[in-house]
Amino acid sequence: MRKKRLFSQIAVASAIALVLAACSSGEKKASETTLPEVAMMKSLGAGEGQVNIVAWAGYVENGSNDPAVDWVTGFETATGCKVNVKVGSTSDDMVALMKTGEYDVVSASGDASLRLIYGGDAAPVNTDLVPNYADIFDGLKSQQWNSVDGVAYGIPHGRGANLLAYRTDIVNPAPTSWGSVFDANSPYKGKITAYDSPIYIADAALYLMKTQPDLGIKYPSALDQTQFDAAVALLKEQKPLIGEYWGDYLKHVASLKSGGTVLGTTWQVNINLAQSEGVKVEGIKPVEGSTGWSDTWMISSEAKNPNCAYMWMDHIASPEANAAVAEWFGEAPSNAKACDLTSDTNFCTTYHAADAAYWDDVYYWNTATEACLDGRTDVKCVPYSEWVKAWSSLRNA
């Protein structure tokens, strides 16, 4: 009797679970590599009163980190759209957050944007509704990671390189190469850090590209199996050197401050934050070049506040806001007019905003696919899902 009842309870539970699972997976079932049809906004209406944003740390500042750094309050007063921001720590985080459908806008890097577009999570952007789009550098428009067949899926935000951070008072001599974070005899063993995301495999690939030309790596996001295995092997060798992998930028800054981390990959904004707290730390682009990002403001296909979302995209692309965010984060602005508005008049020169040559050895994050992104057709490349598995395996070994 008791067993029978238990059995029927379990039967009911699993039936319900089946229904739940079917509901949750029913919406987006097919494995689409075709472009999902998502409608484009036709005209702009009144603001909804709020906008929910997923952004990189430092992209949406309302003065709470530094009272002088604020390009949100003005927007809120002018449009009546209250800005709610959720900071994503990795591209994978951001993709997952956007899949919930609870956010309107995202600042997606190249390794997230295509996934969002082909996953049906991002909508094409009607650039006519974004007046400031006209002033964006032409070199950033209609790129592989922010458009499909000439249709824009977002507003370019800015670009930058992942840097090598080092504590100037501890690391001596100053490093010039990524080799310093892969050196098995490093005196800073246990105090080196790396970015905690599968995309970090691209950093290893970049180093191999410059130091082992035999492998024939042309682009760190396009790795065939041999190249991929070599990059993962390099990261396995690196693991004993690592003290902590960082995903949370605040913890990373705290670690740089305490000296728990003295060397490793970082973003300019982390350097700026640490320096503002008096930490003797510097960030450089090493001789091998860097991986980097070119970010895009994208709108969700399920945006509940599309009008405020468009207003935000126009605002953040405006020369004033773009200059402010670029200067705070430490990246090259995307709006050509922003260069006249930065408080440091040399800012755009320092960050090479219009200097195409500087970006030659910056390899933007991209979503690795089976079809090699560097144009090779004789081999299959390792897709990003395998990068994820390899990274998970590496981190847990």
Partner: protein
Amino acid sequence: MRSSAATWMHKRPKMRLLALLTAPGLWLVVAYLGALGALLITAFFTIDSFTGNVVAQFNLGNFQDMLTDPAYRNVVLRTLGIAISVTLICAIFAIPMAFFMAKIAKPKNQKILVALVLTPLWASYLVKIYAWRSMLEPHTGVIDWLLGPIGIHSPGFGGPAIIIGLAYLWLPYMILPIYAGLERLPNSLLDASGDLGARNFYTFRRVILPLIFPSLVAGSMFTFSLSLGDYITAQIIGGKLQMLGNVVYQNFSINLPFAATIATIPVTIMALYLWLVRRTGALASL
């Protein structure tokens, strides 16, 4: 009006039972077992390798990946090791503390002691772990600053740090059940044991321990299961070390089915643990 409804209910015991149990029953089946079931089913799905969307197509690939990659065997063993160590450490600290609270402290102080044991639970989990982060920080942390001069150094971030942090966090969950168990233990038994010539340790081993064993098991279920599922402590003070929860956390955003597959491991371990506990008979005498 109200009283007539009550009269109506009073005459119909089955309706009464239904009204009482529908809400909790639904909660149990839908929210609790339903979630577990959905988890189990998702574990057999896969994802589109490009967009990361879940594809509802039955396959065993996730389990194959999990079982063939030695990394996941290591993380299971590591997590088990941590959970067992935390449970043992909690038991070692909790038994004397609970004994003092229940048997030695004056009755009016007992309540104060119970309150004191509970105070750490008032503070946020995160605050406590970040506090441990600044305690354990190598070279610049509180432990190195305070105990460095006498030759004791912080273990740094890693496995030992996780064990210390979790043992600190879950200690109250071990003390309280043991305290409750000891309170029910009549003092006369201890006196009798002493009168019959048993030394303290012998009394502890042959009289106290068997009688508080069910409480110990109850406490261990908390400390063990809480440690098994934890990932935040490992993130903050674990250095580069990962536990099972971290694997789930790392994968759920990119590969939900694989995260679900990993999540079946702690469920299985806990089921086995509860089954073992049941076999000892400790659950019956709780």
